[in-house]
Amino acid sequence: MAFNYDQYIRGGKLPHIWCPGCTYGIVFKSLLRAVDTLKIPKNDIAMVSGIGCASRLPGYVDFNTLHTTHGRALPFATGLKMANPDKHVLVVSGDGDATAIGGNHFIHACRRNIDITVMVFNNFIYGMTGGQYSPTTPSGHIATTMPYGNIDPSFNIPELAKGAGASWVGRGTAYHAAALDKLIAGAIEHKGLSVLEIINACPTTHGRRNKFRSPTDMLLWMKDSALPVTAFEKLPPEKTAGKFPTGVLFKKEASEYCDTYYGMVDRIRKASEGRA
């Protein structure tokens, strides 16, 4: 039986704002399928975003949704989560939103290891503003603010998250949608800060300026470049050029921030009752 997306989509809010050829719609559907497998009541989910094309996603879903300021989704989400530690807080962000203007919040959310799921839709460009280079724009690529080719080194988002202390780090692509369902579900299920980088394509402001003749070319690039992490790790270093690993890239056991905080609360309250 076909999956019933309507149960999670707000009536009358489609069509979405994304351009023809944009891969966010694929990820949007994957996200809904993933949430469905977890059987979490809609009332118990908050979805928070910042500013950018990806950040418009929460408007379409029937959860508690919060579309905030540029880069700041994570501290808003931290407030929601700390106030209601038993609820699920999901963050949808873009490469610029999460790692440029929101970079400080990103690393500190990872460091705290608070139980929030961060999905970074990486399309390698600032799409909403028309194609300026972001911290993940590949070297040499043309952007409206790098008209002679990008000279900025780029972030590796999973490595950044791992280094900052996130306890679950993964990467998927819009092309590998079935695998993405499982990755999103895994990221949400993990207790602690999980970062899932989702490789996306922006044909309108990135692809067409960088020799991708069609949106399909960008999906084929994902198909050819992504390797399951187990296969990627078996490759000799000289053969990894132009490839990137996908799947669960890193996972560790670590204290979750709300647990630690409320554990402290219980401890000191007990101690103060003892004194009284």
Partner: protein, 376 residues
Amino acid sequence: MGTIKLLQGNEACAEGALYAGCTFFAGYPITPSTEVAENLARRLPLIRGVFLQMEDEIAAMAAVIGGSLAGRKSLTATSGPGFSLKQENLGFAALTEIPCVIVNVMRGGPSTGVPTGPGQSDIMQCRWGTHGDHPAICLTPAYVQEIFSETVRAFNLSEKYRTPVVIAFDEIVGHMRERIEIPEQGVLPVVDRAKPDCSPEKYLPYDDSGGDVPPMANFFEGYRYHVTGLNHGPDGFPVNASPRIHTDELRLMRKVEANRKDIIRYEEVLTEDADVVVFGYGISGRSARTAVEAARAEGIKAGLFRPLTIWPFPEEEVSAIASRVKSIVVPELSLGQIIFEVERCAKGRCRVEGIYRVDGDPITPAQILAKVKEVG
């Protein structure tokens, strides 16, 4: 009889927040406001409240809005540069109508300025700091007792009108210790936000058909809705069209403008027969009171107008004074900011003279008395 304590202004602020039912604080260390955070770091965990020291001022403001949206009365405290950094998210709270309280313990500026000295030069920023038209409520207590009670009132106004409320006091009253009485719970009113009484299916978060302040559902209580910093329609979803944007902006402003009588508070001393009135708030209001008493002792008909609500500005009250006095003297720890508001209300009907000081010391009663004699 409540509890008698010897407290610093910043400590009284923390006590006032707890009295008002605050269970969520997020902040970032900054002089001279840090004691607000330090006190709540000790107290909030004991009542299962949340205390968060965030990675920066911007994050603290964001977390406070998140905490409030999840149903907790929320507070942040800051000073100087930190207040500048909070402005964007303060505007977000104003447009999305999420209650929260922001304490600004004013120091000298601009930039790093005089972190350990008093200032009153953020007072226009308290009104106009964030971009775009927005309602503003700002309270200016001058005594430790008043910091306590005005903090309670700030939460009440914030909850009642669904808008951020700023409490602005200077470093001197923030750090001054005075005897205060903390009343028993129930003595001061405590207001909670109005919640919807309709079913979740019928809930429209920004529907003004029942009044200018729509009831607010908290997240996770079954009312799933959308909050966005984009201008939005009654259902909370973005609207990019006339006339909704215009009418909704007017409604936001009206929440404060139409309720001036409820929001504006001030102390007025001996202004009835006065030839000269001193308009002073915060520490400058305290010096002004001493100066007015000294002037009266010398037979000079002086009076005091000390606003506890600086925004919305007490226009009618200042206008009435301007119509019957020769002069209004405005002492402020800036190079002249709130004097523009006094001049605006005076409309040339009386002389308006400023006394300005930005060297880290307060304006003394003697300075004010000299000016009163000059213009009285």
